[in-house]
Symmetry: C2
């Protein structure tokens, strides 16, 4: 094994090869991959899995989330989604845990004529990229999901957009990482200098801002969890995404009867559940799938996604700190991006090789955004130094 | 003291004078009144205050709840509401507990023209009974509550309809009863024969049906608790009741920032919170008071009210069992009816005197409803025997 970290792995009895800050899906996946390749890994997190993943729906939707002006991100999402079948199989193989990986595909729908017009603009864009999006006639839509409201005007199928259950995934990733030898340390990391390892990976979600000065900001999301009455499975199998009178909404059915209904996207840093958001989500959900009105409302929660100025993650070495790798800013895409983030960051740690896929996501693209416009004038002790 | 229970109170060292089944607001008020008048009282309840009162809003609204065809009930509600100022003062005096008694009055509103037309029919009926209902011009309505939505079409003031906080009231009543000497026994009562006392009072809410065979049925109600952001008081002071696009709804503001938003009335016996009910309540609430959209949604719960065939409570001796008094079936009126229920049942126990007010509410009005139409043919061991 060659690379820029010349000490052979696992020889140093005291100092870890890799310290990962953050035990969410990103940090745990990286820790797993690194430990499985023979590195001595510690993961620091006082509350593993308590960040954005705790409220994530688990959609693996590179196609449905291919938005205008985000083509590089779309390529990364697609590349990671391609790795998901193998990743899911491997997690289950090494841990024995079913992580709720489902492949029924995603239906994208529009409730009203206006909603459908908006959706069709996006589908045309996605088709223009060569992505698998199949518009359906209303009769075909209802054949696939008879539970959809009769007034849903139209839809399209994204058969390769799948789902996983983050609340099963994160504990499974933790088990996988630990089985591979990674050690979890429940202490928080306040400064990068608290960590002693040859390489530090900052996978701290929103917490990355304080640690690195990177422009990661909290983006509040509120989601609901419903449950089909009488313990039966929901009356629909696809992930449903759509617009309902202008409100974007998604519905993710689980085999155990749970339905995740989300999500707001708010430029706020609090985690209170507000009456207005719950009302809008429920209204949109019930309008698309009337049977939801009779479902139990079992949970309403808010979480904070790590957003970035260009909505894309931040992956790679901090400028001037080749020993500190960022793996944060995954915003609404932390679950789908876990496999590729883990593989590419592990390659970087072990081989010093930066995959060309990482190019657009390097931290130094935000150099101009630091206070004063240059790293030297940053006000935070550890950032960009 | 004379009456049909000749043993002088407090002489019998073993057998209680009164056993009250149920430690909700009705049972505790009765226990308090009886104990304060020198009787030896035990109250049986494995979970005091866990019935309908746990989800009650605490409106004291004989005027706003004076409905067509319920004139005898209205008279009882009015008589009890008259006792509330003294009752509240006395509870606070003996316990030192502030029970959230507020006298700002109730605003009744209609959102749309149709809602207002429906409300006006009711107000005319209430005015016809001579009740204090003052229609307000839209400008007067907004002067009183500027937080009301501009599209609220009209309203009326019921100045004598007040409120109390049931979650403060019930523990205070428990303290008052205990201070007066009542003993709480946390065991459940499965049969009336489990209880040994000279008089048994069944104040078990929905549980009264199984104990007595009386036609008390559960009527499900779902309510929400919101909280004004930043710990401030809600932006309105009156209880607001109204119709919003046909949905009847009420909003009860507390000084600590809480707002109770309710309530559904469902002929169901489960206590699940359903997505559709929450959505309808929130929609109606936010339509009437837009600021609620920014409130925290802190609780969504369902409870079961003890309903009866004529929506009125059941107060007095079971037919053929002068030693068993019913005090149940208070449906949506348990809080407002607590003072008069307690006073009149205590009179009955101590003096054997049945106040004329109780006449319409005696258990024997349902004799024809028992299985087979006569008490002798009842299938339950303890009922009507």
């Amino acid at each position: 094994m060659t690379g820029r970290f010349p000490s052979p792995p696992s020889r140093d009895r005291v100092r870890p090869d890799v310290a990962v800050v953050g035990a969410g899906p990103i940090g745990l996946s990286i820790a797993w991959r690194c430990a499985a390749r023979g590195l001595r890994v510690v993961v620091h997190d006082p509350a593993p899995g308590s960040g954005a993943s705790a409220v994530a729906a688990g959609m693996l939707s590179p196609v449905a989330e291919a938005y205008f002006g985000e083509q590089q991100l779309t390529e990364l999402l697609l590349a990671s989604a391609e790795r998901w079948p193998g990743f899911a199989a491997e997690v289950t193989e090494v841990t024995g845990v079913d992580i709720g990986y489902r492949t029924e595909g995603t239906l994208m729908v529009g409730l009203t004529g206006d909603d459908l017009a908006e959706a069709r603009r996006l589908w045309a864009y996605q088709q223009g990229l060569g992505l698998p999006v199949t518009p359906l006639r209303p009769s075909e839509l209802r054949d696939r999901e008879p539970a959809l409201a009769p007034r849903v005007r139209g839809g399209a199928l994204a058969p390769t957009d799948h789902q996983v259950d983050p609340r099963l995934l994160v504990p499974a990733l933790r088990a996988a990482a630990q089985q591979a030898g990674a050690v979890l340390v429940p202490q928080p990391v306040r400064h990068l200098s608290d960590v002693d390892a040859r390489v530090t990976v900052v996978a701290a979600g929103c917490g990355a801002a304080a640690l690195t000065g990177l422009p990661v900001r909290p983006v509040k999301g509120q989601i609901l969890r419903l449950r089909a009455p009488d313990g039966v499975a929901p009356g629909f199998r696809h992930v449903i995404r759509g617009y309902a009178d202008g409100e974007p909404v998604y519905l993710v059915p689980r085999v155990d009867g749970e339905v995740v209904l989300g999500a707001t996207v708010e430029e706020r840093a609090d985690t209170t559940v507000t009456a207005g958001a719950v009302q809008r989500l429920l209204r949109a959900g019930v309008d698309l799938l009337p049977e939801l009105a009779e479902y139990d409302l079992v949970e309403a929660v808010a979480g904070l996604r790590p957003g970035t100025p260009d909505n894309a993650p931040i992956l790679g070495p901090l400028p001037g700190r080749p020993d500190v790798l960022a793996a944060t800013g995954h915003h609404r895409h932390g679950i789908v991006l876990a496999p590729i983030t883990a593989d590419l960051i592990a390659d970087l740690v072990l081989d010093g090789v930066s995959d060309p896929l990482l190019g657009p996501f390097r931290p130094d693209r935000f150099l101009d955004l630091t206070p004063g416009g240059s790293p030297e004038r940053s006000t935070e002790g550890d950032q960009w130094s």
